[in-house]
Each structure stands twice: as structure tokens, then as C-alpha cells.
């Protein structure tokens, strides 16, 4: 996984609550069996006027120039500023792959849906929960026309922007994984002995759950 230590970038305000993963990457792109190729279709139904499908390139599409990601001053933005319950709905990790490939390294919101947030951590994208009032302050500045630059320091667990410094929470395990770009499966398999021991005693206790094992 790509490590995440610090990141500085322009924040683009996506002023909508409850943005769901069907919005982030519509289902027609889920037919792909690959992990890449989703960036051009991030927020597809909002970014383009015509209906998207696999194989269509942005050059063949009708761009919706009103959509915030298409506004010229936000080109190159790498921090997504979002409202509450961002990423609700489907468990599709394709949503994070699309955000990441588009160039987002972190998403800041007052709250995230559970599975989406997990998926972010697995892909080196940092979902940062700030207090409602802090997110509102960032939105107010961005919507008033200011270019909001944001500096994230994962080790210090801070987001700095303008004169403000906001702290955020993260579990030690996740922080460690991200800072070191750790292979989580590898880390789990390093505990293979514990898993085997557990499995052995669990099988004694609940033998009927192993009926299909030969």
C-alpha cells in the first residue's frame, strides 16, 4: 500500500450530504475485473451530461462544466471536502480506487460510512473526520471563493489550513499501517500461529461450522 505521511493540497468543496458510492462510481463501471481505470468515471453522472459506459473516453463525453470538479481553478485538487455520511451505500471499493486514481489523497468530512472508510485505509487514502463546525468553517471559506490549501500531518494527527489547526482521531493500528505503507495481510499472516491456535479450539467448540471442510 502507498504510505501516507504528510500531504499538502488544494481542497475542493463537494457541497452535498449523504454522497453514496453509486454516485462516486456508478455500477456500469463495476464490470471491470481490474483495480485501475476508474479515475475518468469518478462522479460520472455529475461530471458528464451524457450517460457513461465502459470504453467511452472523456474526449467523447459532454462535460458538465458546472460540476465542481470540472471548474478550472480546482484542477489538480487533491483533498476532497465533503459533508456528512460521505460514502454511504454499496461496499464497492471501486469508489476509493476512483478517488485515488483521480488524484485525491484524503477526504475531509464530519462523518463517513463505515465500509467506505475501511476501504480508504486499505488504499492509502486518508478519511479525516473533523468536527462539524470545523468542516463548516472550511466550506465557508471555499464557498466564499478562497483557495483553501490544506496541510495534513498524519503523525501529528493535524489538519492545518490558513491560521487554523484541527486535530483528528485515528487508531494506532491504522496510523501505523498508513505511515509505513504496510501490507495488512502480511501483518495478519505474521500472526498465523495465533489464528491456527484459535481455529483449533474453535473447531472443538463449534464443530458444525466445519462440515464442508475435508
Amino acid at each position: 500500500m502507498t504510505p501516507f505521511t504528510t500531504h499538502t493540497g488544494l481542497a475542493v468543496p463537494l457541497d452535498r450530504a449523504n454522497v453514496d458510492t453509486d454516485q462516486i462510481i456508478p455500477k456500469q463501471f463495476l464490470k471491470s475485473i481490474r483495480r485501475t481505470g476508474f479515475g475518468d468515471n469518478l462522479f460520472d453522472a455529475w461530471r458528464y451530461h451524457d450517460e457513461g459506459d465502459m470504453g467511452k473516453t472523456p474526449n467523447d463525453r459532454e462535460i458538465n462544466s458546472d460540476f465542481i470538479l470540472n471548474v478550472p481553478r480546482y484542477q489538480g485538487a487533491s483533498v476532497l471536502l465533503a459533508r456528512e455520511n460521505f460514502g454511504c451505500g454499496s461496499s464497492r471499493e471501486h469508489a476509493v480506487w476512483a478517488l485515488s486514481e483521480f488524484g485525491f489523497r484524503c477526504v475531509i468530512a464530519p462523518s463517513f460510512a463505515d465500509i467506505f472508510s475501511n476501504n480508504c485505509f486499505k488504499n492509502g487514502v486518508l478519511p479525516i473526520v473533523l468536527a462539524e463546525a470545523e468542516v463548516v468553517a472550511l466550506f465557508d471559506r471555499a464557498l466564499a471563493g478562497e483557495d483553501v490549501q490544506v496541510a495534513v500531518d498524519l503523525a501529528a494527527q493535524t489538519v492545518s489550513s490558513g491560521d487554523a489547526v484541527y486535530g483528528f482521531d485515528i487508531t494506532e493500528q491504522r496510523k501505523h499501517s498508513l505511515l509505513n505503507g504496510l501490507d495488512e495481510i502480511g501483518a495478519t499472516l505474521a500472526q498465523a500461529e495465533s489464528i491456527k491456535t484459535f481455529e483449533g479450539s474453535y473447531k472443538q467448540r463449534r464443530p458444525w461450522t466445519f462440515l464442508r471442510d475435508v
Binding site: K27, L30, S91, I115, N118, T188, I195, T209, F210
Partner: protein
């Protein structure tokens, strides 16, 4: 110490726990399908890892398979969408390469993962179950801890049979009263989500309890748990009881003989202790509750069938206004005035035999309105399909003008040809009414099978209690 049902199952599967609360949880059963698994298998291959416990996995294609019976006749080779065909055959290849059991496209047992699991007895009480699909919460109806996960986690479970997690909080939703005639589990869960809101249960596992839940069949309980995720919960649960036991007994993958007795003795402990403490509580009385219908673009935007589209006021003003624009509805407009273009009866929420029976009961001796472009019934599995045909339900539906399809997710997420055209309104028994979910610029209303079937007959929403 008194424990909740969630606490008990969590504790029973805890491999290790760190100081910061991160835990390794042992997973009994992983269900796989074609859409969220290819990248996980690819990851395994790239890292040269093997599957930890082959029998801990079970696969079936569902999201992307065609439901046109003709297109299904020749199996994978018959799938006309070449990209979809590749995805389904990739699942085939991966299952073969890693020796994982699959109910493939030709198999009678093939179906929507969340219909197939319980039907086969792959879902058992007290288990931990995961699947790369958010509606895995469905299996919680069996007092199993069942959660949707992303593809990286699918890979993690394939490789280690464990999931890295932190414990959630406990939320009790207590439902009192009795559902009236012609009011169903779907109406109940829509009402609950309307009250909790789509983020109301974030960070929690919900246990549904109370009289109305105990009176539900397993099918009904699955419908309720299925939509727990729409309230933001990680999982939904219902305590084990005789109804659960009766459903599980005799299923192909369920224990029998002495093992059954042993399992049953344990399963009887799968309920929250009387004095267990929940972090959050919500109570609701369903006496006199009418059938429910969603008007907007989020599953919390729900009103009674005799209700109206709400006014854009209060904290959610902007959301209501956006949804009205997308849905082309006016505040104050009666739900019964909404004309439908398509009807979809299917999905892991409502495509079990009981749902088909209700739809057929409404349709019997009646005709789908001529203004309806398409009314489709998509059974949840090959076995549901066969049973419905045997009971004569399929014929009743076809005689009334419904299309009778082959099993799959179909228009629930519209990955295949089953979808709405821009601007169309659909009465759907699925679980999500997000913008574009059932087709680009399509407009979805979530309802019970009875309400969907009644809307098909009337051409617009109508109180289905008059039909059953």
C-alpha cells in the same frame, strides 16, 4: 457480565485484540460473487498467497448475470455483454483455480448471495459471515454477525480467514405492536429507516427486537436485517428462536443428528441477556402503521402510502429540494398520484418465496395496467424460481402480464440490461433509491412486494391493503 447478542458472537470469534481496540475476528463463512472478488483473487496471486480455509468460502454469480431466460439458456457463453461475460467467467476460473465451491450459472442453487446462503444452510446461527456486498447484513436474521466488506478485505479473509476490525456500539430497536393485514416486513424496515435516518445507526450493530420481530417469518426478518445497512449500521441482528430453528433444520449444509442437537443447545444462548446494556435505544410502535413508500433519493425519505411529498423545511431543506427536483415531484403531492413506468419485484430484500406469493396473491385474476412499460418479477435463486413455478405462482404472474425472469440481482443495481430509462418512475422492492441506481436518471420508489404488485395493476401507487 450481561452481554448483548452482538457481544456474544464477537467474543466467540475473537482471535487477538490490541490495546487500541483493533481486533482480529475469525470468519466462519465468506460468500463470493463476480463483481467484488476478481481483484481480491488477483491480489492473492500477485503476493503468491493461498486460500487459508477453502471450505470457509462459497461462491455464486449474481450481480451481473442476465435474467432473460433465453439469454440464460446457454450459460456463460450466452451472455451478450462481453465485459459482463468476462467477469462471470473470471469467477468460474478463480473458483476452479483455488478449489472454491461455486454454484455456477447453470446450477439450480445459483442465486443472489444473500438468498442462496440461508437457503443452503451456509448461513448458520452464531456464525461470522462476510461478503463483498453491503447487504450481507441480511444474514443477521439468523443471529449471525454478518457484514459487508470491501475487496481488500475479501482478499484479507481469503488469505487469513480473519477480518481486522474494531467493535461497534450496540443499538436496540424495539418494535412493539402487531403489523396490520397487508402490511409487511418491508414496510416496517422502511419506517425504521425513515425514523433513524441513513446515518442514524453509524458505528452500531442493530439488534431488532420485540413482538413484531418475533412474529415475523425468517423471510421477513431477512428483509428487515437486509436494510440495516441503509441506516448506516455495520450489521443487523435478530435473536435465535424456534422460528430460526425450524428454517435451518434440514438445509443441505446445516448439521444433523447429534451435531444438530449440540448446535441447537448453543444456538439457544444466542440472544441478548435480559439486563444487557445497549449504547443506544430506539422504540417504535407499528400498530395501525400503513404500507410505506419512499418518495426521494435516500432510503430515509419515506412516507405512508396515504401521505404526501414533504415540504422543504428544517435541517434537511436542501436535501428535500434536490430530491424533489431529481424525482420530478412537488412538495405536498400525494403518493397515490405518482404514475409508474416500470415495476421491479426482486433483489435480496424481497425475492424469496414469501415475496413471490404475496405478489401473486395481488396479481391473481387481475391485469397489469396498459400504461406500465414493464413489470418484472425476478426470483432470488433457482430454487425460489422452481418452487414458485411448482406452486403455480409464476403462471398467475405471467397471466397478469408480469415477466417471469431468471434469478439474479437484476434491476436492483442495473448492471445488466434490466434498467430504467431516464425519467422513468419505478416501484421497486429493492433497497436503494439513490440517484441513477436503477439506471441513468431513473427514479426509484422503494416498496413491499404487495405495494409493487398493486401499483402494477393500478398504474400508480395505491394502498395495497385493498388487494390482499
Amino acid at each position: 457480565m450481561a452481554q448483548t447478542l452482538y457481544d456474544k458472537i464477537w467474543q466467540d470469534h475473537l482471535v487477538t485484540e490490541q490495546e487500541d481496540g483493533s481486533a482480529l475476528l475469525y470468519i466462519d463463512q465468506q460468500l463470493l460473487h463476480e463483481v467484488t472478488s476478481p481483484q481480491a483473487f488477483e491480489g492473492l496471486r500477485l503476493a503468491d498467497r493461498s486460500v487459508w480455509r477453502i471450505a470457509g468460502n462459497l461462491a455464486t454469480p449474481d450481480h451481473n448475470v442476465p435474467t432473460d431466460p433465453k439469454e440464460r439458456e446457454t450459460g456463460i457463453a450466452g451472455i451478450t455483454d462481453l465485459i459482463a461475460r468476462t467477469q462471470v467467467s473470471t469467477l468460474d476460473d478463480n473458483c476452479r483455480a483455488f478449489n472454491i465451491e461455486q454454484y455456477d450459472i447453470h446450477d439450480k442453487r445459483q442465486g443472489i448471495v444473500h438468498v442462496m446462503g440461508p437457503e443452503q444452510g451456509a448461513t448458520l446461527p452464531g456464525m461470522t459471515i462476510v461478503c463483498g456486498d453491503s447487504h450481507t447484513s441480511t444474514h443477521g436474521a439468523f443471529a449471525a454477525l454478518a457484514q459487508g466488506i470491501g475487496t481488500s478485505e475479501v482478499e484479507h479473509v481469503l488469505a487469513s480467514q480473519c477480518l481486522l476490525q474494531r467493535k461497534t456500539k450496540n443499538l436496540a430497536v424495539r418494535i412493539s405492536g402487531e403489523l396490520g393485514h397487508g402490511v409487511y416486513a418491508k414496510d416496517l424496515v422502511l419506517k425504521i429507516i425513515g425514523e433513524l435516518g441513513t446515518a442514524g445507526a453509524t458505528g452500531h450493530t442493530i439488534e431488532f427486537m420485540g413482538e413484531a420481530i418475533r412474529n415475523l417469518s425468517m423471510e421477513g426478518r431477512m428483509t428487515v436485517c437486509n436494510m440495516a445497512i441503509e441506516a448506516g449500521a455495520r450489521a443487523g441482528l435478530v435473536a435465535f428462536d424456534d422460528v430460526t430453528a425450524a428454517y435451518v433444520k434440514g438445509r443441505p449444509l446445516a448439521p444433523s443428528g447429534e451435531l444438530w442437537d449440540q448446535a441447537l443447545a448453543y444456538w439457544r444462548t444466542l440472544h441478548s441477556d435480559a439486563d444487557a446494556v445497549f449504547d443506544t435505544q430506539h422504540s417504535i410502535d407499528v400498530t395501525n402503521m400503513a404500507p410505506q413508500v419512499s418518495w426521494g433519493t435516500s432510503p430515509e425519505m419515506v412516507v405512508a402510502i396515504d401521505g404526501v411529498v414533504p415540504e422543504p423545511v428544517g435541517a434537511k431543506e436542501e436535501g428535500i429540494r434536490n430530491a424533489c427536483t431529481y424525482m420530478d415531484l412537488q412538495p405536498g403531492q400525494k403518493m397515490t398520484s405518482i404514475e409508474l413506468d416500470r415495476i421491479f419485484i426482486g433483489s435480496c430484500t424481497n425475492a424469496r418465496i414469501e415475496d413471490i406469493r404475496v405478489a401473486a396473491q395481488v396479481a391473481k385474476g387481475r391485469k397489469v395496467a396498459s400504461s406500465i412499460t414493464q413489470a418484472m418479477v425476478v426470483p432470488g435463486s433457482g430454487l425460489v424460481k422452481a418452487q414458485a413455478e411448482e406452486e403455480g405462482l409464476a403462471q398467475i404472474l405471467v397471466d397478469a402480464g408480469f415477466e417471469w425472469r431468471a434469478p439474479g440481482c437484476s434491476m436492483c443495481l442495473a448492471m445488466n440490461a434490466d434498467k430504467l430509462q431516464p425519467g422513468e418512475h419505478c416501484a421497486s422492492t429493492s433497497n436503494r433509491n439513490f440517484e441513477g441506481r436503477q439506471g441513468h436518471n431513473g427514479r426509484t420508489h422503494l416498496v413491499s412486494p404487495a405495494t409493487a404488485a398493486a401499483a402494477a395493476i393500478a398504474g400508480h401507487f395505491v394502498d395495497s391493503r385493498e388487494f390482499v
